[in-house]
């Protein structure tokens, strides 16, 4: 087994001293096995207020009708579908992290995939609530499913992008849930093993009888890989289909072939921003700095620059194509976007999505936690405006000028959106309390501490080439997270 080439230039994925498997379990299960701290309570109560607001606003809409919103004969969608696309987009980062990065064997994902997947699921739930609540007759929402029925065998319209949407979202939700839950099984079993009483019973049910033997692990790995394979195309397909709600229409500003890649890039962009928004807080509050490290933050920031720039190029391409098309309606749609009555929304989007993420080119900024956190929120605001700009500014002035109208949101519009954020955080905070926010089993896979210690032994005993040792120590210096006094003694 000797003679293998080891790469020592890789930053350890888990930092900190004396990290053992037991310590990982203890650290990660700390919030699950203890009473919540004050920060959690404050967050939870705030979120719960938001969730209540959501219930009130959606209840009001159901009782009186969609007229409670600010929509009109010209603008039939506004905050509702903006919110829907925004939430679906946010979900995408979770799938990308858990599935695509798994397939590419990017082990650094192991510390963040659990939370990111949870975020995906909760975001898709929020998106799904919009699908139902935006309908004029939500009690008939099941009609969009191709169910056998007694209406003379009436099918859904397979031409309609909304039907594709329904398939896309439901597939996405079920696969994401399955993937997330499968990954949770060993960790739930870990909690079960450490718990007592009722908790033990509950976790024992939810661990599906996980016993940790080789066969189970082997199947677990196989299932994870298969689910990752299934999820990967979803990263591309779901938002592609969502974009087709617009791209297949005839409305100038919607009828655009660039939408699928542009939407997918935008989704990943906003998703990573949301992961950062959540985890930067969570790692601090839950004391998980050793697991979610600067390396993760920086990596995610790099993805944000990349996708943000793709989105920026897409914005410019749209303008070019509008000019190049020679179609006056198309041209006007874009002139109106940037200079019409909603110009501020357009420039808000441009600033937040294209200009401000460019700051992340500076290493100082992208490794600065407060700056990153603020930028991540800015990106999310920008992405909300992107959807608002696409939906509302295209609709409010389309072909026939007599019908041009403005959209003004009502308190219900605002409450449904703000409330959905409350619902999201309520779910996320509950998740932090009952389930491990980091995949314990997967993180243990990437713990380098044992090999680190062995290496130190070897160096001490002089088994290694001097040159190699020097290079190794030098590389360690770059990463302040490893204690170097031990090496200095040599």
């Amino acid at each position: 087994m000797s003679g293998h080439n080891e790469s020592i230039l890789r930053e350890p994925l888990i930092t900190g001293q004396d990290i053992t498997y037991a310590k990982i379990t203890d650290d990660i299960l700390m919030p699950v096995e203890n009473k919540p701290n004050r920060a959690w309570w404050i967050g939870f109560i705030l979120s719960l207020c938001g969730a209540t607001l959501w219930v009130v606003a959606v209840g009001y809409t159901f009782w009186f009708g969609i007229g409670a919103w600010g929509l009109n004969k010209t603008v039939g969608w506004a905050w509702d579908i903006t919110g829907f696309v925004w939430w679906v987009g946010i979900g995408h980062a979770g799938t990308l992290i858990s599935a695509v990065l798994l397939l590419f064997r990017q082990n650094w994902r192991n510390s963040i995939n659990r939370s990111a997947e949870a975020m995906t699921i909760f975001a898709v739930i929020c998106a799904a609530t919009y699908v139902v609540s935006h309908m004029g007759r939500p009690w008939l929402a099941y009609w969009v499913l191709p169910l056998p029925n007694q209406f003379g065998s009436l099918w859904v319209n397979f031409n309609s992008p909304l039907v594709w949407d329904m398939f896309a979202i439901s597939t996405y939700f079920s696969v994401s849930l399955l993937f997330w839950y499968t990954g949770l099984l060993p960790d739930i079993a870990t909690i079960r093993d450490r718990a007592t009483g009722v908790r033990r019973k509950i976790y024992s049910i939810f661990s599906f009888g996980w016993n940790g033997n080789v066969k189970t692990w082997q199947r677990f790995e196989a299932v994870s890989l298969i689910l990752a394979g299934i999820s990967t195309p979803l990263v591309l397909s779901v938002h592609t289909i969502v974009s087709m709600d617009f791209a297949t229409s005839v409305i100038p500003g919607w009828h655009t072939t660039i939408f699928p890649p542009y939407f997918v890039a935008g989704a990943i962009f906003s998703g990573f921003a949301m992961v950062l928004t959540l985890l930067l807080v969570a790692r601090k509050v839950l004391g998980l700095e050793n697991y979610i490290t600067m390396f993760h933050i920086e990596s995610m920031n790099k993805i944000i620059i990349l996708t943000g720039s793709i989105v920026g190029v897409a914005y410019l391409t749209e303008f070019f194509i509008a000019w190049y098309s020679g179609s006056e309606y198309e041209q006007y749609a874009f002139i109106n976007r940037s200079t019409g009555p909603y110009w501020w929304a357009y420039w808000m989007m441009m600033t937040c999505n294209v200009i401000s993420p460019q700051l992340l080119w500076f290493k100082k900024i992208r490794t600065n936690i407060p700056a990153t956190w603020i930028l991540s929120i800015v990106v999310n605001i920008g992405m909300w405006f992107e959807r608002f700009v696409i939906i509302v500014t295209s609709l409010h002035r389309d072909y026939i000028p007599s019908s041009w109208a403005m959209f003004y949101p009502t308190w219900v519009d605002v409450s449904v959106f703000v409330g959905s954020i409350g619902v999201f955080f309520t779910l996320f905070l509950l998740f932090l309390r009952v389930l491990p926010s980091i995949a314990i089993a997967e993180v243990k896979m990437i713990l380098k501490s044992a090999s680190e210690k062995a290496k130190l032994e070897q160096i001490k005993e002089g088994h290694l080439d001097k040159e190699q040792v020097a290079e190794y120590v030098e590389s360690l210096e770059k990463f302040d997270s490893v204690k170097q006094e031990e090496y200095a003694k040599i």
Binding site: G65, T74, V144, L154, N159, S160, P161, S249, P401, S402
Partner: protein, 1028 residues
């Protein structure tokens, strides 16, 4: 470091037994027990058959019990003895008339639900106006009184009769005056009843007074020609029409009829024959007629008189004083040109003025005489009898009351407490009258001042007749039994005058059989069948004006001088509300004004530059104060084309006692009306001051330019004559189109429509007709403001400004001058805001009816997730309300934005209590059309119920459908015949012929949705025929 150690897990491995070797080939020592699960034993679970049946039984029982809840109970009472003529589901039609328009009343199961034009009416009304269409709703008005009222208490009729007769006898005995006040009465039978009443009570005098008066014309004709009449105007015989502030296509005398006449010289048929009339409009406020004019010149109210003098001088070569317009060079130039054209069109021209001033109308008579209008375009021998009001008599009546000379007043079909020029004096005077009887159907502003309200029938419950023109009679017959304990006013008068025949039906019949029918050679039965009779018209004499104008001119100039001193206010009738009589009609309240597109309100219209000069922005609430101190606060509407220095306010608003829908809508402008020089005057001067408040008007259209898009295609008459396809986009042949989609097969019919933009005047009667036919909810001011009106058909009104020719400064005459770039004169974004004062004055207007285009490749159809909107094999775009889940995707994807969403449950939501939230008013609903629940999309169905009914009728009669069997509600109401509907598969149908016109274009055809409605280009006759 190779390790040679060998571990073994058990003795079997160590010994390498055959068993072990065999098992070791498998990955797992024990196979998955799939077989066990799938075999029969696996299925014999712990739940045996009996348990299953028990569970099933319980389930069934529980479901049955749950289903035992009583379903909502709807009581319906069958006919015990079925009336012979009523077949459930089959409508009956009865002839009747309303406002002198002969109509057919459609009844279903005994209740009137729709008014349609009477095809027998001939030239008198080919369509119906918005008021007539909406009138059916007045029958079902819950704000009406249910019993007669005596001294504020509801009583029975015998008490009323006893009281009124007693008072009448006392009045007669005392020798004091008795007065019957009414709006103009043209009904021969009503006139006879009033005459009988006067015979019984000789102290009685009948005073006719109209809220919007035509006394000026009547008096002028009396003065000029000795005929105190409103003449019959023949716009169809006029090749050149010059109007000074007369909204003859809208509210002036008989807009509905004039529309048909006017359009007959401008529509597709006329254009094909190479003929198009020319129309100049000189006016202050932008009227519906002004929007249709070929050349419209804004003139101040104070300039209208001098303008007429200028025109008179230019035509006759006279040099009367005051014939200049020093401050309006454009108008002056235009008038000189108009004079030349008038002389060229002698005998084929018509000059009309909307003024109610006698002197002005005398001058107009002189002009018309000079251009030979009498006997051709003006007929004094077959006069119009719609208006016979006498302002002076009414003014005198108020004085009589105030002097305490009047003992009894009967107020029939009028509401002076609201609309009299001096309502205060009227009310004060009325208080001094002992017997005050109102025949109003509700406790309105006047009725509430009366001690008796003898509630009258609605016209749909009444017998009666009308005589709109000399020799032209129409009948009014009831179509429903009186709903409330009302009695026809005429019958009340007959009872109170102890007439021998008290039943009004008998009275009308006797009257017809005695006086009208013998001359016509018809029987009473014929009357009830055809509804109208026109005697042969008398030959129209050519009258010559031979009087001196010296007395007239100073009066005109004085009026002008009085107006010129401050902001000149014009009070006018708006198309939807007219004089305010039907202010409680929700259909009319929600009918957008054809010009401003404002619903549910009146406003003060100001020209853009003038408003800027005064420092007002649109929707600023300003206080309007006249020199008599009357003040109202109204929001400003910026009206392009409004003359600088003038303001316009619509009458008919600000009712306080009309009912739920109409109370408190807008402000009352009647107090601005004054009585001067023997007639009422609808112009005054006011002062405006800001209030700092802002109130957004509820407009159905807020963007007023078509942005140069080719959705509107227009050309000039000169260009049209060169190539009829000019401006249609098809000058160089049709465009080639390519298609991704399969073609729809339309084996039977292909329902399509053609709309003539040159015929449509924008009046909006189609909108109301559609509302009534299709049970379209009225949503109210707040919802319209949120842009949520539900109209299936709307009329888009766009302004464009006329481009100048190479910096010529004669903007107004531009239309008349040389070449017009009508096609190029399009307005771009923000250009309107940058327009100069003159450009803004000189706007052109186009009206475009817009409704579901029933696209063959409908974008709405592909996006509906549940197939709620689908295409039919006869070319229609269907909407299945029951299937709709309300995603609104179809509306978003509709390029024409004609889909309407039910944002709320308008039928059952107290917040929309405009009219329909009660069982009584719901009787107006058309049972052939489903009412839509909330959350459902709706849109024009091409009156599919009418298509089905027409098909069924043809089937019953075992014949193929004929062209014209089926008519859309909008098409039927249209006096201008601008909407043609029919089968596109029939090459000989009207619509197929129309769609083959060179002028046809399809709105947004370039996106290839293949709309089913073709539009014909707008043609403007802007090129002058004389050398300037």
């Amino acid at each position: 470091m190779e390790s040679n150690k060998k571990y073994w897990k058990g003795l079997e491995e160590y010994k390498n037994t055959p068993d072990f070797v065999e098992n070791n080939k498998n990955e797992f020592a024990e196979p998955l027990p799939i077989e066990d699960v799938l075999n029969e034993a696996g299925l014999s679970t712990v739940t045996p058959r009996r348990d299953f049946l028990k569970a099933l039984g319980f389930g069934l029982g529980a479901v049955t019990l749950a289903a035992c809840q009583t379903a909502p109970l709807h009581k319906s009472i069958p006919y015990v003895i079925k009336p012979e003529e009523v077949v459930p589901g089959i409508p009956n039609y009865y002839v009747s008339s309303f406002n002198g328009q002969s109509v057919l009343v459609k009844t279903r199961e005994g209740r009137p639900i729709k008014i349609e034009p009477n095809p027998n009416a001939g030239v008198f009304n080919s369509g119906t106006d918005a008021q007539t269409q909406a009138s059916v709703l007045d029958l079902y008005d819950v704000s009406k009184l249910k019993s007669p009222v005596l001294d504020k208490a509801e009583v029975n009729w015998s008490k009323v009769d006893e009281f009124v007769k007693g008072e009448l006898n006392k009045a007669q005995a005392s020798g004091k005056k008795i007065r019957v006040i009414s709006s103009s009465v043209n009904s021969p039978s009503s006139k006879a009843v009033i005459a009988d009443f006067i015979t019984a009570y000789p102290n009685t005098k009948h005073v006719q007074y109209d809220a919007v008066s035509y006394t000026g014309i009547i008096k002028a004709n009396e003065n000029s020609f000795g005929k105190a009449v409103v003449p019959k105007y023949n716009f169809d015989k006029a090749d050149l029409i010059v109007s000074f502030g007369a909204d003859f296509l809208g509210t002036w005398i008989s807009g509905e009829e004039f529309t048909a006449q006017y359009v007959s010289n401008r529509d597709a048929k006329s254009l094909k024959a190479g003929k198009m009339s020319r129309h100049f409009q000189f006016e202050a406020g932008m009227s519906l007629t002004g929007t249709n004019a070929d050349t419209r010149v804004p003139v101040k109210l104070s300039e209208e008189g001098p303008a007429l003098i200028t025109l008179y001088n230019a035509i006759t070569g006279n040099t009367l004083a005051g014939g200049t317009l020093p401050n309006n060079v454009t108008a002056d130039k235009a008038l000189k040109l108009v004079a030349k054209e008038l002389l060229q069109n002698k005998g084929k021209a018509l000059v009309v003025s909307g003024s109610n001033d006698v002197s002005t109308q005398i001058l107009v008579n002189a002009i018309n005489s000079a251009i030979g209008s009498y006997g051709t375009t003006i007929d004094l021998d077959n006069p119009c009898k719609r208006y016979a009001g006498n302002d002076a008599e009414f003014a005198e009546f108020i004085n009589e009351m105030n002097r305490g000379e009047v003992a009894a007043v009967f107020i029939l079909d009028s509401n002076p407490g609201y609309d009299a020029p001096n309502a205060k004096a009227f009310a004060d005077g009325l208080a001094k009258v002992g017997l005050r009887v109102s025949f109003s159907d509700r406790k309105d502003e006047t009725a509430s001042l009366c001690n008796v309200i003898a509630i009258n029938h609605n016209y749909l419950e009444s017998w009666g007749d009308a005589n709109a023109y000399e020799g032209y009679y129409s009948i009014v017959q009831p179509t429903i039994n009186p709903v409330f304990n009302s009695r026809q006013a005429e019958e009340s008068l007959l009872i109170w005058s102890d007439a021998p025949v008290k039943e009004y039906y008998q009275y009308v019949r006797n009257n017809w059989e005695k006086t009208i029918l013998p001359a016509l050679g018809k029987t009473w039965k014929d009357v009830l069948q055809t509804g109208v009779f026109a005697a042969t018209a008398k030959p129209a004499g050519a009258y010559t004006f031979g009087l001196s104008l010296t007395a007239v001119i100073p009066s005109i100039l004085n009026n002008s001088k009085a107006l010129a001193k401050d902001i000149e206010l014009q009070v006018y009738e708006s198309i939807p509300m007219r004089d305010g009589k039907h202010a409680n009609n929700a259909f009319l309240q929600e009918l957008p004004d054809p010009v401003s597109k404002v619903t549910w309100d009146n406003y003060i219209a100001l020209a853009p530059k003038f408003a800027e000069k005064l420092g007002f922005k649109e929707f600023d609430v300003v206080s309007v104060k006249d020199d008599r101190g009357y003040t109202i606060e109204l929001p400003v509407l910026i009206q392009p084309g409004q003359a600088q220095g003038t303001a316009s306010i619509a009458l008919g608003y600000g009712r306080t006692k009309v009912g739920k829908a109409g109370d408190g809508v807008g402000q009352n402008a009647y107090p601005f009306v004054s009585f001067t020089n023997g007639t009422t005057k609808y112009a005054t001067t006011v002062k405006l001051s800001g209030t700092g408040k802002r109130e957004e008007l509820a407009q159905t259209q807020t963007h007023h330019s078509f942005e140069g898009r080719n959705i509107i295609r227009e050309t000039t008459f000169t260009e049209y004559k060169k190539n009829p396809a000019t401006g249609s986009g098809n000058e160089h042949g049709k465009h080639k189109s390519y298609d991704l989609w399969d073609k729809y097969e339309k084996p039977g019919n292909n329902w399509v429509m053609a709309i003539d933009l040159n015929a449509c005047t924008g009046c909006g009667s189609c909108i109301v007709a559609c509302n009534v036919e299709n049970n379209i909810p009225v949503v109210g001011k707040e919802e319209v403001r949120k842009r949520r009106e539900m109209h299936w058909i709307r009329i888009d009104r766009y302004y464009s400004f006329n481009q100048e020719n190479d910096g010529h400064d004669d903007h107004a005459a531009h239309g008349a001058h040389g070449h017009s770039n009508g096609i190029n004169s399009v307005t771009k974004e923000k250009e309107i805001a940058d327009l100069t004062e003159d450009k803004m004055n000189n706007v052109s207007v186009v009206h475009q009816p817009m409704l579901c285009q029933h696209c063959d490749h409908a974008p709405c159809e592909t996006v509906c997730p549940v197939l709620a909107t689908v295409h039919s094999s006869d070319g229609l775009n269907h909407m299945a309300y029951n299937r709709c889940v309300g995603t609104r995707y179809c509306a978003n994807n509709c390029p024409y934005k004609v889909r309407r969403f039910n944002w709320f449950n308008y039928w059952n939501d107290s917040r929309f209590d405009n009219y329909l939230n009660n069982e009584f008013t719901q009787l107006v609903l058309n049972p052939d059309v489903t009412t839509r629940s909330r959350g459902v999309m709706e849109k024009c169905s091409m009156c599919i119920q009418r298509i089905q009914a027409g098909k069924l009728q043809a089937k019953i009669e075992k014949r193929p459908l004929k062209d014209g069997d089926i008519k859309m509600a909008c098409q039927q109401a249209c006096s201008a015949n601008a909407i043609i509907f029919g089968d596109g598969n029939d090459p000989n149908s009207e619509v197929s012929k129309a769609l083959r016109s060179e002028r046809i274009y399809y709105v947004l055809e370039e996106i290839n949705v293949q709309p089913g409605i073709g539009y014909m280009t707008k043609i403007r006759n802007t090129d002058t025929t004389v050398q300037a």
